[in-house]
Symmetry: C2
């Protein structure tokens, strides 16, 4: 906890936070798929080659899990984030293949304090996951509940 | 492979396919969170009680993985499904707590044959995950690529 904790006030619209890197191994792809998404292209290289994905490729839900860990390590961990109500417009744009190294960034798109809870804000991020060629593998919009450091007390500020 | 394979033609708009059941254990919640989403409310009962979720609760991405397995077992496995380009409007409506038993259903909302690939259709499902009280824990819209049994050959049918 050496880093400064980011609260709602610290996420300016336009702020873009880069992720670290994550190498995706065949073993990890198969282990996730075996538990959650045992479609052949997520379990077997030959089946992957015969599929639209072109080789052993991670389940899209596995890519979501990897994204979550990248975002957690990059900024969720050292923030007042309280969870998320959902996801808008998630797109798996390219397959994530065994041996890919993923990274990416989260950008603050918009933010507002909740009318019902003046100590809590909703910040909508665009999360982008890229591969080692800089291509977008996945992106999504995702509103996250993030507590304020200094709750809004004036009714005018809390409204709208 | 005893069951009949469902192809594009077999998914009528309005068809609703029920899932089996999945008990979610504290151990599974913690194991997933430790790897992908180590926020305190997904790792520890006491931290969960102090959070908006009210107890040890699964990562939303874990719920997505559980959903995928329920849908795989219910209909993806015995179908010509080829993967999915993304997800629209995913909502985590209620926390999934340790001890919850999840089930649900997938409903065919709309379908069309791809102009660019007359052997492939895009079927948009609404997936609904419910808990043991019949409450909706998560829902989403999700287009899935599903191959035709008999590819459309007439240009009039393939268009629009």
């Amino acid at each position: 906890m050496a880093d400064k904790i980011r609260a709602y006030e610290d996420f300016d619209v336009g702020l873009s936070i880069p992720y670290g890197k994550k190498l995706v191994t065949a073993q990890e792809i198969i282990r996730f798929a075996d538990q959650f998404d045992p479609q052949p292209m997520h379990l077997d290289e030959e089946a992957g080659k015969e599929s639209l994905l072109g080789g052993l490729a991670a389940s899209g839900w596995h890519t979501c899990g990897i994204f979550m860990r990248l975002a957690y390590d990059a900024f969720i961990k050292h923030s007042t984030a309280q969870g998320a109500p959902g996801v808008n417009e998630l797109r798996w744009r390219l397959p994530v293949m065994a041996g890919d190294e993923l990274t990416g960034f989260s950008t603050v798109m918009e933010k507002r304090v909740l009318k019902s809870r003046p100590n809590m804000g909703l910040i909508t991020f665009r999360h982008v996951v890229t591969n080692q060629r800089g291509e977008i593998a996945m992106d999504m919009e995702n509103p996250i509940l993030i507590a304020l450091r200094n709750p809004v007390t004036g009714q005018a500020e809390a409204g709208a």
